[in-house]
């Protein structure tokens, strides 16, 4: 901590004005300089539609795995050949889907951990309910007004927080981020400007922006005035960092598609020091009731994009990954047996990924419940051995530094004894 806030303000020539008049972006910069180490960042990724954890992290060591999935099973690693890819061996029992080959080096370098047989204790098989429960982190309770990450933000207020402290890449604020703490929601930061479908060259467009800025700055309406301040600050930050012109570092190449695009923008925000603490992104297309495919096919295509997006983000962030954790989740897993349409139906427990510098990776965490008939949940699905709230809580406590996670997980007692230990 070489530079004090006071020094920073003095050398910026702003101390004359007193703290109340210092522009907030400078005040924030001053705080940033004071805090030891970097700000810890969480990137949460929701795989909407119930990803098939059993074909993503394959328990090839289970005898029954192949017979349960006659047309969609992924061959075990020993069956690998030039022409026929197989599961990528992780630990002699579990293997990654071959489309996730770009994640294997991250597992090997111990930056990627997997928690298998994790999920919600509520046994609903409705996408709607299960997503709701996971995002609110209150399984079985529908009326929880806000999302778990918003409660994290509420519980750790930051004075003069950056408008980019919490960003969701979605068309409308996802349940996870809903609540009273401010969250910027956008699909495309490039679109975050004032234009109104009008060519920026049109005479008068810039006038409108200036006029709005003046109008709101002096408005007596405090809610609108302070929010507009954030809005215009965000617009000017994005102009400053030239969001449209980004060259990923280290030769990283993001795959086409929404997840790659979202993660690239997350990377850009982090690198430009915009104050990002929590980011949320989505990846859809996992609900494969029909023709799921095995080594190739629908799931394989989705996984290729998914794995390549995570790997590109990791590569792009380079050393900054030391402060970043990426957490993936999906509302439930899929049936252990394939169905009559070469797909799988709605199931129960699933696999979650945790990626980043702080992660103790290279390991598949969790107790494996087995796939024998009597070991399955309700006789059909992978049983649950890790409550997703214990995974979220471990991230909140050990990565984001939450002292008391009670408020984030209402109605649930968090105990570090149940943490799987993939962090800290």
């Amino acid at each position: 901590m070489g530079i004090s806030r006071r020094y920073f303000l003095r050398t910026s020539g702003l101390s004359l004005f007193g703290a109340g008049l210092v522009p907030s972006f400078l005040r924030r910069a001053a705080y940033a300089l004071e805090s030891p180490g970097g700000r810890k960042i969480l990137v949460a990724i929701f795989q909407r539609g119930a990803a098939d954890g059993l074909n993503i992290v394959i328990p090839f060591g289970e005898k029954s795995y192949h017979s349960m999935r006659p047309t969609i099973a992924i061959p075990e690693p020993s069956k690998r050949s030039e022409s026929a890819p197989s599961a990528i061996d992780l630990d002699g029992f579990f293997g990654l889907h071959p489309s996730l080959s770009s994640l294997k080096p991250l597992f090997d370098s111990r930056q990627l951990a997997i928690i298998h047989a994790a999920g919600s204790p509520d046994s609903t098989r409705s996408h709607f309910d299960a997503q709701d429960y996971m995002e609110s982190a209150t399984p079985g309770v529908k009326s929880t007004p806000d999302g778990w990450l918003n409660r994290f933000l509420q519980g750790t207020p930051v004075p003069d927080a950056s408008p980019f402290r919490a960003v969701a890449f979605a068309s409308s604020t996802p349940r996870t981020m809903m609540g009273s703490a401010s969250c910027l929601c956008t699909q495309d930061l490039q679109g975050f400007h004032l234009a109104g479908n009008i060519s920026p060259q049109t005479r008068g467009v810039q006038l409108v922006e200036t006029a709005f800025e003046e109008m709101y700055a002096s408005a007596s309406d405090r809610l609108l005035s302070s929010t507009a301040h954030e809005t215009f600050e965000a617009i000017s930050t994005l102009q400053r960092i030239q969001i449209g012109q980004y060259q990923p570092a280290n030769g990283a190449e993001y795959p086409k598609g929404p997840l790659g695009k979202s993660l690239q923008q997350v990377a850009q925000l982090i690198k430009s020091d915009a104050g990002l603490q929590v980011a949320f992104a989505e990846a859809g297309g996992w609900d494969n009731h029909v023709n799921e495919g095995g080594v190739t096919g629908q799931l394989a295509n989705r996984l290729k994009e998914f794995g390549d997006a995570l790997a590109a983000f990791h590569k792009d962030m380079g050393e900054q990954m030391a402060d970043i954790t990426v957490l993936t989740m999906s509302e439930f897993g899929r049936t252990a047996h394939e169905n009559g349409n070469r797909g799988t139906d709605h199931g129960h427990a699933n696999a979650m990924f945790v990626l980043g510098g702080p992660v103790k990776g290279g390991k598949v965490y969790g107790d494996w419940p087995g796939l024998k008939d009597h070991q399955l949940h309700e006789g059909r699905d992978l049983a649950l051995t890790t409550d997703f709230r214990d995974v979220f809580a471990e991230v909140a406590v050990r990565h984001l530094g939450v002292q008391d996670p009670t408020g984030i997980f209402p109605g649930y007692t968090i105990s570090p004894n149940r943490f799987r230990g993939f962090l800290g």
């Binding site: 009326s143 004032l194 479908n197 109008m215 809610l223 929010t227």
Partner: protein, 541 residues
């Protein structure tokens, strides 16, 4: 607090709450018949001719179709594919990868779709059904003469919120709006409540159709084929062990959200007992758009105790009806509904005095909605400076009021609806049964405020596909004061801060110097209208 609004402001205030935004002709009418006259008229929508908007709506074919017809004609992509396979066509060995759209029971469906895709989807899939219902709602909000009824339809649709993308609800919502909410929006609360309780849309949304008493015949007698009236459909429809149990969702939300309120004095035991009462309230052939049916085989015929009342033993269907009667007459319900109405019509924190008065009317009239509204809308608390512009408009209200202020016309298609979505209110897409929170802080954040300003600019500059304003008709001349006067009357009833005026006048000055009127320039009227619609004042009603 005790001071009242001036007559002009009172009229503006009254219209900004009981309509989707005052139009110049509404202000004229208020001057002729007075606020009392407007209220009397609006509380009897059946006496108001609304043929103009009705005619517009006949262009939307899905609105007159039954759920069964909608399911048949607008199947989900997945079902369409399956049906094709049954008929022996479309049987690819390696089917192409799925479109970016997600299957129908997927909450994110539509969310991750780029707008272009959403538009393509509108043509044939169930999204068309929901889009047309949204168009109807918007057109009625913007153009109906029965404004208070529309405001109340809007209010009750949110109070009894249903998420369109949950399973079959996308085909049931049209009927829910037309047959359940609309006829009762200005009726009696207990009838409205009963209608929602027996609506297939609500039975499905809150899972009551699946709820089976632990000792019901369904669970104790040998299973019959197709106990729930559906065949081997999608996975969501397959019976499983969970479906044979008591499902408490409806029982809980009925008390917490529809009637008593979370602090209304019920216990978890009451939730369970209410759920038992409603076992057997289900849907006849949900996959074919069937209606409400009571199935005795699913019902728990044991005795129940709800909020201190004994219900049963052999009540059957009447158990649920008795619960609805108890809840509708409960003092907590009178208070909870009155509170929500006061929050909607007066402010987020309405004085306790008016909530109590409204609750008194509710109890005295046994839930007569027009009487409760009359109490609220004629109160001192309503007609007070503290209530003036106390409410932030929802995105839907913002767009509708902009339309009414500038006399805009629109096909209410995907470009306009997409803007409402980006402002944070995708129609029928709120997942939780709570409905959209009626709070300024939940509507306004940096992204949605930007989206509001962008909408204002787009509308004022005629840059929304399918939507037009007549700039010529809105332009009284080239004089800045004249442009200002005309537009500030239309948009804000002339009541505006000095800041806002200064910013608009400065903008007009600068655009004038820069050569307004030349090709490619932003017309002065567009500039002033954009700034007024995007102003802090116009975000409130």
């Amino acid at each position: 607090m005790d001071s009242a609004l001036t007559p002009d402001l009172a009229a503006w205030h009254f219209l900004s709450r009981t309509t989707f935004g005052p139009r110049p002709q509404d202000i004229q009418k208020a001057k002729q018949v007075g606020i009392g006259g407007l209220l009397d008229e609006q509380l009897h929508p059946e006496r108001i001719d609304d043929s103009e908007v009705d005619k517009r709506i006949t262009t939307l074919p899905t609105l007159t179709m039954s759920p069964a017809e909608l399911m048949e004609d607008f199947p989900a992509p997945k079902q369409a594919q399956k049906q094709g396979q049954k008929q022996g066509k479309n049987k690819p060995v390696n089917p192409p990868p799925p479109p970016p759209a997600m299957p129908p029971d997927m909450p994110g469906a539509g969310k991750l779709m780029p707008p272009e895709t959403a538009q393509v989807m509108e043509g044939d899939g169930p999204r068309r059904v929901i889009m047309e219902l949204g168009r109807e709602q918007f057109w009625r909000a913007a153009y109906s003469q029965r404004q208070l009824q529309e405001v109340m339809v809007h209010f009750w649709m949110n109070h009894f919120n249903i998420y369109a993308d949950k399973g079959v609800d996308k085909w049931l919502l049209t009927s829910f709006e037309h047959d359940t909410i609309r006829p009762n929006a200005l009726g009696n609360f207990s009838q409205l409540l009963a209608a929602t309780a027996q609506s297939p849309a609500m039975l499905f949304y809150l899972d009551n159709w699946l709820s089976v008493g632990p000792n019901a015949a369904e669970n104790t007698l040998p299973p019959r084929r197709g106990p729930f009236g559906f065949g081997p459909g999608s996975a969501a429809m397959k019976p499983n062990s969970e479906r044979r149990g008591l499902n408490e969702n409806y029982g809980r939300e009925l008390m917490e959200l529809h009637t008593l309120g979370v602090d209304g004095g019920y216990t978890q035991q009451d939730v369970r007992e209410v759920a038992r009462c409603f076992t057997g309230w289900t849907i006849d052939r949900p996959q074919q758009g069937g209606g409400f049916v009571f199935r005795p085989r699913m019902h728990d015929f044991g005795e129940k105790a709800v909020l201190g009342h004994r219900i049963g033993g052999q009540g059957g269907l009447n158990d649920g009806i008795e619960v609805l009667r108890i809840l509708a007459a409960h003092p907590s319900t009178a208070h909870f509904i009155s509170m929500k109405l006061c929050r909607y019509f007066i402010s987020e924190t309405p004085p306790a005095s008016i909530v109590d008065s409204a609750a008194g009317t509710f109890t005295m009239t046994q839930g007569n909605i027009p009487s409760v509204l009359r109490t609220i809308l004629t109160s001192r608390e309503f007609n007070s400076p503290a209530a003036f512009r106390a409410k932030v408009k929802s995105p839907f209200e913002l767009v509708a009021s902009s339309f009414r202020a500038l006399d805009a016309d629109s096909d209410a298609g995907a470009p306009l609806m997409g803007m409402i979505m980006r402002m944070g209110q995708p129609l029928f897409q709120y997942q939780a049964p709570t409905g959209y929170p009626d709070r300024a802080s939940s509507w306004i954040n940096s992204g949605t405020l930007l989206a509001r300003m962008n909408f204002s600019m787009s509308l004022a500059a005629n840059r929304i596909r399918g939507t037009q304003i007549d700039l010529q008709a809105l332009t009284p001349g080239d004089d800045h004061e004249a442009i200002w006067d005309h537009l500030v009357q239309r948009t804000l009833g002339g009541e505006v801060s000095a800041n806002t005026k200064a910013a608009v006048m400065k903008g007009l000055e600068e655009v004038g110097n820069g050569g307004a009127g030349k090709p490619g320039a932003f017309p002065k009227t567009s500039l002033a209208a954009a700034l007024l619609l995007g102003s802090p004042e116009f975000q409130r009603r």
